[in-house]
Protein backbone atom coordinates (compact mmCIF):
# COMPACT_ATOMS: atom_id res chain seq x y z
CA UNK A 1 0.00 0.00 0.00
CA UNK A 2 2.87 2.33 0.87
CA UNK A 3 4.40 1.38 -2.49
CA UNK A 4 1.26 2.58 -4.27
CA UNK A 5 1.30 5.89 -2.47
CA UNK A 6 4.99 6.40 -3.29
CA UNK A 7 4.30 5.59 -6.94
CA UNK A 8 1.43 8.07 -6.96
CA UNK A 9 3.63 10.74 -5.39
CA UNK A 10 6.39 10.06 -7.88
CA UNK A 11 4.13 10.03 -10.90
CA UNK A 12 1.91 12.99 -10.17
CA UNK A 13 2.13 15.68 -12.83
CA UNK A 14 3.27 18.95 -11.34
CA UNK A 15 2.39 22.38 -12.57
CA UNK A 16 5.33 23.69 -14.57
CA UNK A 17 4.36 27.29 -14.24
CA UNK A 18 6.59 30.23 -14.94
CA UNK A 19 5.68 33.87 -14.47
CA UNK A 20 8.28 35.80 -16.45
CA UNK A 21 6.87 39.19 -15.41
CA UNK A 22 7.30 38.40 -11.74
CA UNK A 23 10.76 36.97 -12.25
CA UNK A 24 12.02 40.03 -14.15
CA UNK A 25 10.38 42.64 -11.92
CA UNK A 26 11.53 40.98 -8.72
CA UNK A 27 15.09 40.79 -9.95
CA UNK A 28 15.13 44.45 -10.95
CA UNK A 29 13.54 45.61 -7.71
CA UNK A 30 15.96 43.57 -5.58
CA UNK A 31 19.03 44.76 -7.45
CA UNK A 32 17.86 48.39 -7.26
CA UNK A 33 17.17 47.96 -3.56
CA UNK A 34 20.46 46.34 -2.63
CA UNK A 35 22.99 47.79 -5.01
CA UNK A 36 21.31 50.81 -6.60
CA UNK A 37 20.54 52.56 -3.34
CA UNK A 38 24.03 52.03 -2.03
CA UNK A 39 25.43 54.29 -4.72
CA UNK A 40 22.92 57.04 -3.99
CA UNK A 41 23.46 57.08 -0.25
CA UNK A 42 26.09 59.82 -0.47
CA UNK A 43 24.35 61.81 2.25
CA UNK A 44 24.71 59.03 4.78
CA UNK A 45 26.66 60.33 7.74
CA UNK A 46 29.93 58.45 7.93
CA UNK A 47 30.81 56.48 10.99
CA UNK A 48 33.16 58.18 13.44
CA UNK A 49 35.42 55.22 12.98
CA UNK A 50 35.49 55.41 9.23
CA UNK A 51 38.03 57.24 7.11
CA UNK A 52 35.64 60.12 6.64
CA UNK A 53 36.01 63.07 8.90
CA UNK A 54 33.47 64.13 11.49
CA UNK A 55 32.96 67.40 9.62
CA UNK A 56 31.99 65.50 6.51
CA UNK A 57 29.66 63.35 8.55
CA UNK A 58 27.94 66.43 9.93
CA UNK A 59 27.63 68.06 6.53
CA UNK A 60 26.28 64.77 5.20
CA UNK A 61 23.76 64.77 8.03
CA UNK A 62 22.63 68.30 7.22
CA UNK A 63 22.21 67.40 3.54
CA UNK A 64 20.25 64.31 4.55
CA UNK A 65 18.01 66.42 6.80
CA UNK A 66 17.40 68.93 4.01
CA UNK A 67 16.60 66.16 1.55
CA UNK A 68 14.24 64.58 4.04
CA UNK A 69 12.47 67.91 4.57
CA UNK A 70 12.10 68.38 0.81
CA UNK A 71 10.84 64.82 0.37
CA UNK A 72 8.33 65.19 3.17
CA UNK A 73 7.00 68.43 1.75
CA UNK A 74 7.07 67.44 -1.88
CA UNK A 75 6.53 63.71 -2.02
CA UNK A 76 7.72 62.26 -5.31
CA UNK A 77 6.73 58.91 -6.70
CA UNK A 78 9.30 56.67 -8.34
CA UNK A 79 9.23 57.70 -11.99
CA UNK A 80 9.00 54.16 -13.26
CA UNK A 81 5.92 53.49 -11.12
CA UNK A 82 4.26 56.63 -12.47
CA UNK A 83 5.16 55.64 -16.00
CA UNK A 84 3.54 52.26 -15.35
CA UNK A 85 0.36 53.99 -14.10
CA UNK A 86 0.30 56.21 -17.16
CA UNK A 87 0.64 53.19 -19.40
CA UNK A 88 -2.28 51.41 -17.69
CA UNK A 89 -4.40 54.57 -18.02
CA UNK A 90 -3.62 54.85 -21.72
CA UNK A 91 -4.67 51.25 -22.28
CA UNK A 92 -8.20 52.25 -21.23
CA UNK A 93 -10.50 52.98 -24.15
CA UNK A 94 -12.42 55.77 -22.42
CA UNK A 95 -9.23 57.58 -21.39
CA UNK A 96 -7.76 57.14 -24.87
CA UNK A 97 -10.96 58.70 -26.22
CA UNK A 98 -10.62 61.71 -23.91
CA UNK A 99 -6.98 62.19 -24.91
CA UNK A 100 -7.71 61.92 -28.62
CA UNK A 101 -10.32 64.66 -28.20
CA UNK A 102 -7.75 67.03 -26.72
CA UNK A 103 -7.63 66.02 -23.06
CA UNK A 104 -4.29 65.78 -21.34
CA UNK A 105 -2.91 63.88 -18.39
CA UNK A 106 -2.30 66.60 -15.86
CA UNK A 107 -1.28 64.71 -12.76
CA UNK A 108 -0.53 61.16 -11.60
CA UNK A 109 -0.26 60.22 -7.96
CA UNK A 110 0.03 57.00 -5.97
CA UNK A 111 -1.75 57.35 -2.65
CA UNK A 112 -1.87 54.49 -0.19
CA UNK A 113 -1.02 51.87 -2.85
CA UNK A 114 -3.76 53.17 -5.17
CA UNK A 115 -2.98 55.10 -8.31
CA UNK A 116 -4.89 58.09 -9.66
CA UNK A 117 -4.71 59.90 -12.97
CA UNK A 118 -6.18 63.35 -13.54
CA UNK A 119 -7.18 64.26 -17.08
CA UNK A 120 -8.20 67.78 -17.93
CA UNK A 121 -9.74 69.03 -21.11
CA UNK A 122 -10.08 72.63 -22.14
CA UNK A 123 -11.95 73.18 -25.35
CA UNK A 124 -12.78 76.25 -27.31
CA UNK A 125 -16.51 76.50 -27.85
CA UNK A 126 -17.71 77.52 -31.25
CA UNK A 127 -19.57 80.74 -30.66
CA UNK A 128 -22.22 82.22 -32.92
CA UNK A 129 -20.72 84.70 -35.38
CA UNK A 130 -22.50 87.74 -33.92
CA UNK A 131 -20.90 87.18 -30.53
CA UNK A 132 -17.45 86.84 -32.02
CA UNK A 133 -17.92 90.03 -34.06
CA UNK A 134 -19.15 92.04 -31.12
CA UNK A 135 -15.81 91.56 -29.42
CA UNK A 136 -17.52 91.07 -26.09
CA UNK A 137 -16.29 87.54 -25.75
CA UNK A 138 -12.96 86.93 -27.38
CA UNK A 139 -12.88 83.35 -26.38
CA UNK A 140 -15.11 80.93 -24.58
CA UNK A 141 -13.88 77.65 -23.25
CA UNK A 142 -15.47 74.59 -21.75
CA UNK A 143 -13.27 72.99 -19.16
CA UNK A 144 -13.75 69.51 -17.81
CA UNK A 145 -11.69 67.16 -15.68
CA UNK A 146 -11.94 63.49 -14.83
CA UNK A 147 -10.20 61.47 -12.16
CA UNK A 148 -9.38 57.84 -12.93
CA UNK A 149 -8.61 55.34 -10.20
CA UNK A 150 -6.26 52.57 -11.24
CA UNK A 151 -5.78 49.18 -9.63
CA UNK A 152 -2.09 48.33 -9.81
CA UNK A 153 -2.82 44.76 -8.83
CA UNK A 154 -5.29 44.17 -11.66
CA UNK A 155 -3.47 46.57 -13.98
CA UNK A 156 -6.71 48.24 -14.98
CA UNK A 157 -8.79 51.37 -14.58
CA UNK A 158 -11.43 50.64 -11.96
CA UNK A 159 -13.29 53.95 -11.87
CA UNK A 160 -13.52 57.14 -13.87
CA UNK A 161 -15.45 60.03 -12.38
CA UNK A 162 -16.01 63.60 -13.43
CA UNK A 163 -14.38 66.18 -11.21
CA UNK A 164 -16.81 68.73 -9.85
CA UNK A 165 -14.89 71.71 -8.60
CA UNK A 166 -16.19 73.62 -5.65
CA UNK A 167 -15.57 77.34 -5.28
CA UNK A 168 -13.40 78.11 -2.32
CA UNK A 169 -15.19 80.80 -0.29
CA UNK A 170 -13.38 84.06 0.32
CA UNK A 171 -12.45 85.07 3.82
CA UNK A 172 -13.59 88.48 5.10
CA UNK A 173 -9.99 89.67 4.88
CA UNK A 174 -9.77 88.62 1.20
CA UNK A 175 -13.07 90.35 0.45
CA UNK A 176 -11.87 93.56 2.13
CA UNK A 177 -8.59 93.42 0.19
CA UNK A 178 -10.42 92.84 -3.12
CA UNK A 179 -12.70 95.80 -2.43
CA UNK A 180 -9.73 97.97 -1.55
CA UNK A 181 -7.94 97.06 -4.81
CA UNK A 182 -11.09 97.69 -6.82
CA UNK A 183 -11.80 101.08 -5.21
CA UNK A 184 -8.27 102.33 -5.70
CA UNK A 185 -8.29 101.37 -9.40
CA UNK A 186 -9.35 103.47 -12.37
CA UNK A 187 -12.20 101.04 -13.04
CA UNK A 188 -14.11 102.13 -9.96
CA UNK A 189 -15.59 105.50 -11.08
CA UNK A 190 -19.07 105.95 -9.75
CA UNK A 191 -19.79 102.28 -9.52
CA UNK A 192 -21.81 100.45 -6.93
CA UNK A 193 -20.48 97.09 -5.73
CA UNK A 194 -23.17 94.42 -5.78
CA UNK A 195 -21.28 91.26 -4.94
CA UNK A 196 -17.78 89.94 -4.20
CA UNK A 197 -17.34 86.30 -5.18
CA UNK A 198 -14.43 83.89 -5.50
CA UNK A 199 -13.03 83.11 -8.94
CA UNK A 200 -13.39 79.61 -10.28
CA UNK A 201 -10.21 77.52 -9.98
CA UNK A 202 -8.18 77.23 -13.15
CA UNK A 203 -8.26 73.74 -14.62
CA UNK A 204 -4.66 74.11 -15.71
CA UNK A 205 -3.62 74.30 -12.06
CA UNK A 206 -5.47 71.30 -10.74
CA UNK A 207 -3.65 68.53 -8.92
CA UNK A 208 -4.43 65.31 -7.08
CA UNK A 209 -4.15 65.57 -3.31
CA UNK A 210 -4.45 62.96 -0.60
CA UNK A 211 -7.49 63.29 1.61
CA UNK A 212 -8.89 60.80 4.15
CA UNK A 213 -6.83 57.98 2.66
CA UNK A 214 -8.24 58.65 -0.82
CA UNK A 215 -7.67 61.14 -3.58
CA UNK A 216 -9.24 64.51 -4.20
CA UNK A 217 -8.71 67.13 -6.85
CA UNK A 218 -7.64 70.54 -5.66
CA UNK A 219 -6.41 73.72 -7.31
CA UNK A 220 -2.99 75.21 -6.68
CA UNK A 221 -4.34 78.53 -7.95
CA UNK A 222 -4.05 81.57 -5.74
CA UNK A 223 -7.41 82.61 -4.36
CA UNK A 224 -8.72 85.58 -6.33
CA UNK A 225 -11.99 87.46 -6.41
CA UNK A 226 -14.56 88.80 -8.82
CA UNK A 227 -16.45 91.99 -8.08
CA UNK A 228 -19.82 92.48 -9.67
CA UNK A 229 -20.72 96.12 -9.87
CA UNK A 230 -23.05 98.50 -11.60
CA UNK A 231 -21.95 101.57 -13.47
CA UNK A 232 -24.09 103.86 -15.64
CA UNK A 233 -26.86 101.29 -15.77
CA UNK A 234 -24.62 98.42 -16.88
CA UNK A 235 -23.63 95.44 -14.79
CA UNK A 236 -19.98 94.54 -15.01
CA UNK A 237 -17.59 92.11 -13.46
CA UNK A 238 -13.97 92.86 -12.54
CA UNK A 239 -11.47 90.13 -11.84
CA UNK A 240 -9.20 91.08 -8.97
CA UNK A 241 -5.79 89.55 -8.40
CA UNK A 242 -5.51 89.78 -4.63
CA UNK A 243 -1.84 88.77 -4.56
CA UNK A 244 -0.69 91.26 -7.19
CA UNK A 245 -3.11 93.94 -5.99
CA UNK A 246 -4.43 94.63 -9.48
CA UNK A 247 -7.59 94.49 -11.56
CA UNK A 248 -6.92 91.84 -14.20
CA UNK A 249 -9.97 92.21 -16.44
CA UNK A 250 -13.40 93.73 -16.75
CA UNK A 251 -16.34 92.34 -18.68
CA UNK A 252 -19.97 93.20 -19.14
CA UNK A 253 -22.34 90.73 -17.56
CA UNK A 254 -24.95 89.43 -19.95
CA UNK A 255 -28.40 89.78 -18.49
CA UNK A 256 -30.63 86.72 -18.64
CA UNK A 257 -33.89 87.39 -20.43
Amino acid sequence: MEEDLIKKLEKVEFPEIEIPGHKANLKKALIDFKYGKKERRFWEPASLFSKRSLAFSLSGGIVALLLLTILLNFPVEPQYALAEVEQIALENQEIRGLISEGGKIQDIKIIDKKAYVLITDSKKINLPAFLLQSGELEENRKETAVLAEISLKKRMVVEIKEVILKLRPLTNKQKERAEEIFKSSAVNGNSKIKEIIPTAPSFSKLEIVSKNGGAEVSSTDEQNAKIRYETEGTEKEAEINITKGSVESVRTVEKDN
Partner: protein, 181 residues
Protein backbone atom coordinates in the same frame (compact mmCIF):
# COMPACT_ATOMS: atom_id res chain seq x y z
CA UNK B 1 27.82 24.97 -10.98
CA UNK B 2 30.24 23.31 -8.57
CA UNK B 3 30.39 24.30 -4.92
CA UNK B 4 33.71 26.11 -5.30
CA UNK B 5 32.39 28.33 -8.09
CA UNK B 6 29.18 28.92 -6.15
CA UNK B 7 31.13 29.93 -3.04
CA UNK B 8 32.98 32.53 -5.10
CA UNK B 9 29.73 33.78 -6.62
CA UNK B 10 28.03 34.16 -3.23
CA UNK B 11 31.02 36.13 -1.96
CA UNK B 12 30.95 38.42 -4.99
CA UNK B 13 27.17 38.86 -4.72
CA UNK B 14 27.70 40.75 -1.46
CA UNK B 15 28.73 43.76 -3.53
CA UNK B 16 28.27 42.80 -7.14
CA UNK B 17 24.78 42.90 -8.73
CA UNK B 18 25.93 40.74 -11.65
CA UNK B 19 26.94 37.94 -9.28
CA UNK B 20 23.58 38.17 -7.49
CA UNK B 21 21.85 38.15 -10.87
CA UNK B 22 23.61 34.89 -11.72
CA UNK B 23 22.56 33.28 -8.44
CA UNK B 24 19.01 34.54 -8.95
CA UNK B 25 18.76 33.16 -12.48
CA UNK B 26 20.08 29.80 -11.34
CA UNK B 27 17.59 29.48 -8.49
CA UNK B 28 14.41 31.47 -9.21
CA UNK B 29 12.50 28.78 -11.12
CA UNK B 30 13.16 25.95 -8.68
CA UNK B 31 12.32 28.08 -5.63
CA UNK B 32 9.13 29.46 -7.21
CA UNK B 33 8.19 25.93 -8.34
CA UNK B 34 8.78 24.50 -4.86
CA UNK B 35 6.69 27.21 -3.19
CA UNK B 36 3.89 26.85 -5.75
CA UNK B 37 3.76 23.08 -5.19
CA UNK B 38 3.54 23.67 -1.45
CA UNK B 39 0.88 26.40 -1.41
CA UNK B 40 -0.94 25.79 -4.73
CA UNK B 41 -1.78 29.47 -5.02
CA UNK B 42 -0.18 31.67 -7.66
CA UNK B 43 -0.39 34.97 -5.78
CA UNK B 44 0.86 33.54 -2.49
CA UNK B 45 3.65 31.74 -4.33
CA UNK B 46 4.77 35.02 -5.91
CA UNK B 47 4.73 36.80 -2.55
CA UNK B 48 6.69 34.06 -0.77
CA UNK B 49 9.21 33.88 -3.61
CA UNK B 50 9.72 37.65 -3.41
CA UNK B 51 10.19 37.45 0.33
CA UNK B 52 12.60 34.48 0.05
CA UNK B 53 14.90 36.28 -2.37
CA UNK B 54 14.55 39.54 -0.45
CA UNK B 55 15.64 37.86 2.79
CA UNK B 56 18.49 36.03 1.10
CA UNK B 57 19.78 39.25 -0.43
CA UNK B 58 19.35 41.18 2.82
CA UNK B 59 21.32 38.58 4.75
CA UNK B 60 23.81 37.60 2.09
CA UNK B 61 26.65 39.18 4.07
CA UNK B 62 25.75 36.99 7.03
CA UNK B 63 25.71 33.85 4.90
CA UNK B 64 28.52 31.59 6.08
CA UNK B 65 29.81 29.10 3.58
CA UNK B 66 29.61 25.56 5.01
CA UNK B 67 29.90 23.63 1.77
CA UNK B 68 26.14 23.65 1.49
CA UNK B 69 24.62 24.72 -1.83
CA UNK B 70 23.17 28.23 -1.88
CA UNK B 71 19.88 26.72 -3.08
CA UNK B 72 19.58 24.74 0.20
CA UNK B 73 19.66 28.02 2.08
CA UNK B 74 16.97 29.40 -0.23
CA UNK B 75 14.83 26.29 0.29
CA UNK B 76 15.20 26.75 4.05
CA UNK B 77 14.10 30.42 3.91
CA UNK B 78 11.19 29.50 1.64
CA UNK B 79 10.21 26.68 4.00
CA UNK B 80 10.11 29.08 6.95
CA UNK B 81 7.93 31.52 5.02
CA UNK B 82 5.56 28.71 3.95
CA UNK B 83 5.29 27.62 7.59
CA UNK B 84 4.43 31.21 8.50
CA UNK B 85 1.76 31.25 5.78
CA UNK B 86 0.14 28.01 7.00
CA UNK B 87 0.26 29.06 10.66
CA UNK B 88 -1.37 32.44 10.09
CA UNK B 89 -3.51 31.31 7.17
CA UNK B 90 -2.48 34.49 5.38
CA UNK B 91 0.73 35.97 4.12
CA UNK B 92 2.04 39.52 4.34
CA UNK B 93 5.51 39.85 2.89
CA UNK B 94 7.79 42.30 4.68
CA UNK B 95 9.58 43.11 1.43
CA UNK B 96 6.54 45.04 0.14
CA UNK B 97 7.13 47.65 2.84
CA UNK B 98 10.84 47.81 2.14
CA UNK B 99 10.55 47.78 -1.66
CA UNK B 100 7.24 49.45 -2.60
CA UNK B 101 8.05 48.98 -6.30
CA UNK B 102 7.20 45.30 -5.83
CA UNK B 103 3.60 46.27 -5.13
CA UNK B 104 3.47 48.58 -8.14
CA UNK B 105 4.91 45.88 -10.35
CA UNK B 106 2.42 43.19 -9.41
CA UNK B 107 2.16 40.67 -12.19
CA UNK B 108 -0.48 41.65 -14.72
CA UNK B 109 -3.92 40.32 -13.83
CA UNK B 110 -4.23 38.50 -17.18
CA UNK B 111 -0.95 36.65 -16.63
CA UNK B 112 -2.04 35.52 -13.15
CA UNK B 113 -5.47 34.46 -14.44
CA UNK B 114 -3.82 32.44 -17.21
CA UNK B 115 -1.44 30.65 -14.84
CA UNK B 116 -4.29 29.97 -12.41
CA UNK B 117 -6.13 28.28 -15.27
CA UNK B 118 -3.05 26.12 -15.94
CA UNK B 119 -2.96 25.17 -12.28
CA UNK B 120 -6.63 24.18 -12.29
CA UNK B 121 -5.90 21.59 -14.98
CA UNK B 122 -3.53 19.72 -12.67
CA UNK B 123 -6.39 18.00 -10.88
CA UNK B 124 -4.36 15.03 -9.56
CA UNK B 125 -1.80 17.38 -8.13
CA UNK B 126 -4.42 19.64 -6.52
CA UNK B 127 -6.14 16.64 -4.97
CA UNK B 128 -2.86 15.37 -3.57
CA UNK B 129 -1.84 18.82 -2.43
CA UNK B 130 -5.12 19.16 -0.53
CA UNK B 131 -4.37 15.96 1.37
CA UNK B 132 -0.74 16.91 2.04
CA UNK B 133 -1.64 20.39 3.26
CA UNK B 134 -3.80 18.71 5.90
CA UNK B 135 -0.69 17.10 7.44
CA UNK B 136 1.45 18.76 10.11
CA UNK B 137 4.00 21.13 8.52
CA UNK B 138 7.02 18.94 9.39
CA UNK B 139 5.50 16.14 7.27
CA UNK B 140 4.48 18.46 4.43
CA UNK B 141 8.07 19.65 4.16
CA UNK B 142 9.69 16.24 3.85
CA UNK B 143 7.08 14.95 1.38
CA UNK B 144 7.51 18.02 -0.82
CA UNK B 145 11.30 17.88 -0.76
CA UNK B 146 11.50 14.14 -1.30
CA UNK B 147 8.77 13.59 -3.88
CA UNK B 148 8.10 16.96 -5.48
CA UNK B 149 11.65 18.28 -5.57
CA UNK B 150 13.25 14.84 -5.89
CA UNK B 151 15.88 15.78 -3.31
CA UNK B 152 18.22 13.15 -1.87
CA UNK B 153 18.02 12.47 1.88
CA UNK B 154 21.42 14.12 2.29
CA UNK B 155 20.17 17.39 0.79
CA UNK B 156 16.91 17.29 2.74
CA UNK B 157 19.06 17.05 5.88
CA UNK B 158 20.96 20.18 4.80
CA UNK B 159 17.80 22.11 4.02
CA UNK B 160 15.99 21.21 7.21
CA UNK B 161 19.09 21.12 9.42
CA UNK B 162 18.12 17.64 10.64
CA UNK B 163 19.98 14.36 10.96
CA UNK B 164 19.54 11.54 8.43
CA UNK B 165 17.71 9.27 10.86
CA UNK B 166 15.28 12.05 11.77
CA UNK B 167 14.53 12.84 8.13
CA UNK B 168 13.98 9.16 7.24
CA UNK B 169 11.70 8.73 10.20
CA UNK B 170 9.77 11.89 9.28
CA UNK B 171 9.26 10.61 5.73
CA UNK B 172 8.06 7.27 6.99
CA UNK B 173 5.58 8.82 9.41
CA UNK B 174 4.45 11.37 6.82
CA UNK B 175 3.59 8.59 4.34
CA UNK B 176 1.77 6.69 7.05
CA UNK B 177 -0.31 9.76 7.92
CA UNK B 178 -0.97 10.49 4.28
CA UNK B 179 -2.23 6.98 3.66
CA UNK B 180 -4.78 7.47 6.41
CA UNK B 181 -6.18 10.57 4.69
Amino acid sequence: MDLKAEKELVKRAQNDPDAFSELYEANYSKIFGYILKRVADIEVAQDITSETFFKSLKNIKKFKWRNIPFSSWLYRIAGNEITDYYRKNKYTPVCLDKIPELAYFKTPYDEVAETEKQLEFKKDFLELNKKISGLPIKYQEVIALKFFEKKKIEEICLILGKKEGTVKSLIHRALKKLRQK
